[in-house]
């Protein structure tokens, strides 16, 4: 058993931390947050330095790192700024599926694009049907390929994406007949509209995408035809670990700020860090954070060893995003009235933490899935 990061991992962590410290200007972040705009220039810089494609193979612009390495980068980014960190972490959302299941020619197009910051990739998975597994967007086989019809919602950076991975029903008995298609976003029949302002994670707008007789060639399918459901599960497993890493970063960043502020802020003749009420909060949330960190690193480590563990990934996702919410909530409280003001740069962590909790799978779903994993499905 070895709980140490490797020297290389510590180097990655330091590099990511230094980059974030140098580039994530808090006032600039506040502006992007207010404008609900993706931070393009920061994203490009992060890509130039190889942060976002680090986990891709070298021949596709990456460094062949593992998911734990990638998690360390995301965590460091979110620790410095919850909004910019989550925005950068989701700029290549969906590329995981190409990395794990794509053909070589698909990898050759998508991965360098994401790694070099030349384009945004996204995954259009959710639909406005309440049950996650019931995908209604359909791909019908024709002589020349497929015709896609349907609608997706909550698509991160949909309007900015050059490519999108679209989960479709490709036979009558979904979810078993489900395939994922890689689409050029400029194809005819695709229309995109924004879903409006968000409570948190405002630098990553979400969009509705409709597909009206979108004709795609047969080779647009990612991986195995009719293998979409399984791919999606694997994809979600990986995304859960990434989400956990974002949560860790937000939690730690909020905690750092609360601790620092509590040492500076004087009331009743002493720094408020000396009051039990504040010490309780900082001790409790630190416990949450460290517990979540252990599960998150463990889940990423198992993943990198080729044995992703559904229980671990769910627990990591749950523990880390919950820790983020708790730590950010209490951090706002430590800051008092100032904390409720945007200029204190802590309320953004709070809103972003809650938005992260709500990303893709919400707590009730996570808990139900974990129970299924532990106990089998309820009869």
């Amino acid at each position: 058993m070895d709980f140490q990061l490797t020297g290389e991992q510590r180097d990655i962590q330091t590099a990511a931390r230094e980059f974030a410290l140098g580039e994530f200007d808090p006032d600039m972040a506040m502006e992007y947050d207010a404008k609900q705009e993706f931070p393009v220039s920061i994203w490009k810089k992060a890509c130039e330095l190889g942060f976002l494609g680090a986990r891709f193979p070298e021949e596709t612009g990456g460094q062949g790192c593992g998911l734990l390495d990638h998690s360390l980068i995301i965590e460091s980014f979110c620790r410095q700024d919850s909004g910019m960190g989550t925005a950068l972490a989701l700029a290549g959302f969906g590329s995981e599926m190409i990395l794990r299941h794509g053909r070589e020619d698909q990898k050759a197009v998508i991965l360098p694009l994401v790694a070099r910051g030349q384009g945004i990739v996204t995954a259009a998975v959710l639909e406005e049907a309440p049950v996650f597994s019931s995908i209604e967007t359909a791909a019908r086989a024709t002589d020349h390929g497929y015709v896609i019809n349907g609608a997706k919602s909550f698509v991160t950076l949909g309007a900015m994406a050059s490519y999108m991975i679209v989960a479709c029903r490709s036979g009558p008995d979904a979810p078993h007949a489900q395939s994922n298609f890689l689409l050029d976003a400029s194809l005819g029949g695709i229309s995109i509209s924004g879903m409006g302002d968000k409570v948190g994670m405002r630098m990553i707008p979400v969009d509705r995408i409709t597909f009206a007789d979108v004709m795609v060639p047969e080779d647009s399918i990612v991986g195995r035809n009719q293998g979409g459901d399984e791919q999606l599960r694997e994809f979600l497993t990986e995304v859960r670990i990434e989400t956990a890493a974002m949560g860790m970063g937000i939690a730690q960043g909020a905690w750092d700020r609360a601790a620092a502020y509590s040492k500076k802020r004087v009331q009743f003749g002493k720094a408020i860090v000396n009051f039990g009420a504040i010490r309780n909060k900082l001790a409790d949330t630190y416990l949450d954070i460290q517990t979540a960190r252990l599960i998150t690193y463990k889940a990423a480590w198992s993943f990198d060893r080729g044995r992703p563990d559904a229980r671990e990934t769910l627990m990591a996702r749950m523990a880390a995003t919950r820790a983020a919410y708790r730590a950010a909530y209490e951090a706002v409280q430590v800051f008092g009235g100032y904390g409720y003001m945007t200029e204190a740069h802590i309320e953004r962590f709070y809103r972003d933490a809650k938005a992260l909790e709500l990303l893709l799978e919400q707590a009730p779903i996570q808990r139900a899935l974990l129970a299924d994993q532990l106990l089998g499905e309820a009869q």
Partner: protein, 336 residues
């Protein structure tokens, strides 16, 4: 609201009010919270600031100011907090020096609700230094819009309460008539300690009503979601969460109603009101957060008003004395 009698309905008829009981005001505050209209701050105006004038003002001051409070022509604010004096109210630095029949006020206030709009601000100032007890140095002085040397600073951006202004007030050799002193010199701290009880009660009413509103809108949302019942497994687990929230809300309502009764009866409520203030604020945030989860991805979209409630209620554990201060007060009452 003033035109229709919704402001300060408890003020006597001779000052333009309806002469009703405070409970009418609380009902209005509650309805405003149900509607999610935090921004108008009618509760602050009617039940937090106006009572200072009513309780400590002279007949002349009351005749001069209360009719405007009732009609809405005069918007009220109370200025206690300063950059270095939040929870520790006795450490304020704003000074008011008496010169003949005027006070010269110098200092800055921050996070003041209604700062930009207020026509009349009750300002906590130090009228003397070093009386031995910092509590005895503080007085309350009414500063009116247009007083020389009185200006507004920034209107601050914040998490929620976007339809309401929270800002800075600046006093630079601000001159107000000595007749604007509320009550006696040196008693301001005690006045605030007295009136903060009702402020905290108003805060608890807003928290409780917000939690009730959030739970109600969530149940409505879920009943409209056609597939909610389809995911049976998850549903039975969520049911437990909803029931727990409904129980919290019910217990909060019972406690709050008993507190309102005690307060209206004129009883001593310091312990109970401090408990209600922190507990309902925390409960409203817990309910808002758990209900957002039940909205699934829609929870983070501003198109759904629950998101606004979620952002708004985050202020509740902070203003009117933080939850930590409430617990400090309760500890004192308990003698621990």
């Amino acid at each position: 609201m003033g035109g229709q009698g919704y402001l300060c309905p408890w003020v006597e008829k001779r000052y333009g009010g309806a002469g009703l009981g405070l409970e009418y005001s609380f009902i209005i505050t509650e309805e405003m919270a149900y509607a999610g209209v935090h921004g108008l701050m009618a509760g602050l105006h009617s039940d937090i600031v106006a009572p200072y004038i009513h309780a400590f003002g002279t007949d002349v001051q009351k005749a001069r100011w209360l009719p405007g409070c009732v009609s809405g022509d005069s918007i009220l604010a109370v200025a206690m907090t300063e950059p270095d004096a939040g929870s520790d109210l006795s450490s304020i630095r704003t000074t008011a020096v008496r010169q003949a029949d005027t006070y010269i006020i110098n200092g800055e206030k921050i996070y003041i609700s209604n700062a930009m709009l207020a026509d009349l601000v009750v300002v906590a100032c130090k009228t003397q230094q070093g009386s031995g007890s910092p509590h005895k140095d503080i007085s309350l002085i009414c500063v009116e819009e247009g007083s020389p040397g009185f200006s507004r600073g920034r209107n601050l951006e914040k998490t929620g309460w976007h339809s309401q202004d929270t800002g800075e007030l600046i006093f630079r050799d601000c001159k107000v008539p000595a007749a604007n002193l509320l009550g006696e010199e040196g008693k301001g701290f005690y006045y605030m300690m007295e009136k903060l009880q009702q402020e905290r009660l108003v805060s608890a009413i807003m928290s409780q009503a917000s939690a009730e509103a959030v739970l109600k809108m969530t149940l409505e949302f879920l009943s409209q979601q056609k597939g909610f019942r389809k995911a049976r497994n998850e549903h039975s687990m969520s049911q437990t969460t909803i029931v727990e929230m409904a129980t919290d809300v019910e217990i909060g309502r019972t406690f709050l109603n008993s507190l309102i009764r005690d307060h209206l009866g004129g009883g001593e409520v310091i312990k109970k009101v401090s408990m209600a203030k922190w507990w309902t604020a925390e409960m409203a945030n817990r309910v808002a957060s758990l209900c957002l989860d039940l909205y699934r991805d829609y929870g983070y979209l501003e198109d759904y008003k629950i998101g606004r409630f979620f952002r708004d209620v985050r202020a509740h554990p902070i203003y009117a004395g933080t939850n930590e201060i409430m617990k400090r007060i309760i500890a004192k009452v308990l003698g621990i």
